[in-house]
Symmetry: C2
Subunit: 258 residues, 2 copies
């Protein structure tokens, strides 16, 4: 991503700031100044000024001078506020717990950020307490929550999300060709629920359904997932019913009357 701008140009400095922040991930937990230079292409002095400023406002952290950098706690605080302010997250608990209990499968609740499905809630039938594993944004084109959302977006969005070589491949079953995905999403839209047959993770079957806001716009989705040997073909119709019911309940809780 070239500095994160999606529309026309904004503040150039902000674009540079985003490019620095995007160097970090769950795989690249901390980075030296040299590594940040290498990944962003910024000269040493420029990169140093950027990271020093980010550290001063708390968006990056550093244990001591000359040490490696990592994402700062201020981001966690702001991210917490995003979640706390989200109506969907506030309403979700009973629906997610009920779907987990009734289906016996893992449940994911994701919001669309314009290019990926961001999981904001996850529940496992066999785990207790808060989810231990965090999921970064899931690719929209090959996950059930992503496809449940994409099926109800304007057609030009799909064109915009496809890269020059189509969509990224994750497994042998990933649909990478834009035209094939468009047709697939047309089917998803017609039946009102999505199916991921190991397109993102091998051997995993997921069923998703779209969630609407009070204006009827699809902005989120919920899904159940399990290994194929567990969520067998004969069990799909019952799971579909449960997921759609949870999605409709959440949509109604958010003010959708449809």
């Amino acid at each position: 991503m070239d500095g994160g701008f999606r529309g026309e140009d904004g503040l150039k400095s902000l674009g540079k700031v985003m490019r620095v922040l995007e160097c970090f991930s769950t795989r690249d937990r901390s980075l030296s100044l040299g590594e940040i230079c290498a990944r962003t292409g910024f000269p040493k002095a420029t990169a140093h000024r950027l990271v020093a400023s980010l550290r001063d406002v708390g968006l990056l952290d550093q244990d001591r001078e000359r040490d490696r950098y990592r994402l700062g706690l201020r981001l966690f605080e702001l991210g917490n506020t995003v979640l706390a302010n989200m109506d969907l997250h506030r309403e979700a608990r009973p629906f997610v717990e009920q779907l987990t209990r009734l289906s016996g499968h893992s449940v994911h609740l994701a919001v669309f950020d314009g290019r990926a499905a961001v999981v904001i809630h996850r529940a496992d039938p066999h785990a207790e307490g808060s989810p231990a594993a965090f999921i970064e944004a899931a690719p929209a084109h090959c996950t059930s929550v992503g496809k449940a959302i994409l099926a109800f977006q304007p057609p030009e969005l799909l064109a915009r999300l496809a890269g020059p070589a189509g969509f990224a491949r994750y497994t042998d079953r990933t649909i990478t060709h834009p035209a094939a995905l468009a047709a697939h999403l047309e089917e998803t839209r017609a039946r009102g629920w999505s199916l991921d047959e190991g397109e993102h993770q091998p051997g995993l079957r997921c069923i998703g359904a779209p969630i609407r806001d009070q204006t009827g716009r699809v902005f989120a989705a919920i899904s159940v997932s399990a290994p194929v040997r567990e969520l067998t073909q004969p069990r799909i119709p019952a799971a579909v019913k449960l997921v759609r019911h949870a999605a409709q309940g959440l949509s109604a809780a958010l003010g959708w009357r449809g």
Copy 2:
């Protein structure tokens, strides 16, 4: 906070960006351009350029043009990464669960961000699933996690955190005078655990203990809390033992040998 810079000046634009982001909170979930102008003091054109840029990179969201702004999902994603990358968070689960079970009280785990105690994990003995309520950064001077951390920081930090009128008052019991707090923290440090007697929330008693990283530096704390009528005076010694044991276990898990 004047643009968030703690040291010498950094990028001016980043300071402005932070001032915009800091206008939002769990109380101010969405804001119009005019409201952002009023809170930041920026002229309309300046504020508009800032929020448009933030929206373009996903740090702010807007349902449609001319609509109100809110914090964007990209912040949640980055905040998620902060948490996922945190050794303390990854190691914490069994210690927090055990402390919750043995003490029968609410447990909080917080990290110091340089001025506040940021709660990253919370568990209640009577609640199931992930914590529903989110806590913004807790003031360090009047919470048990905050005081457990402050007691082991350099003395000049306390001077820096105090405002011109001392520390903010939350209840009748809040210690607001810097000298009084310094003496209080000296006692905390000597005995190795902290006590919050309704200093932040009336009628709530909390006991906290510091957590060290592999170098021995105190950067986090854990606490139990309950209403005074539940966590009575005779029950304090047993609770102290449990909290300190959990803190020491977590410190050891992080590589502290002391």
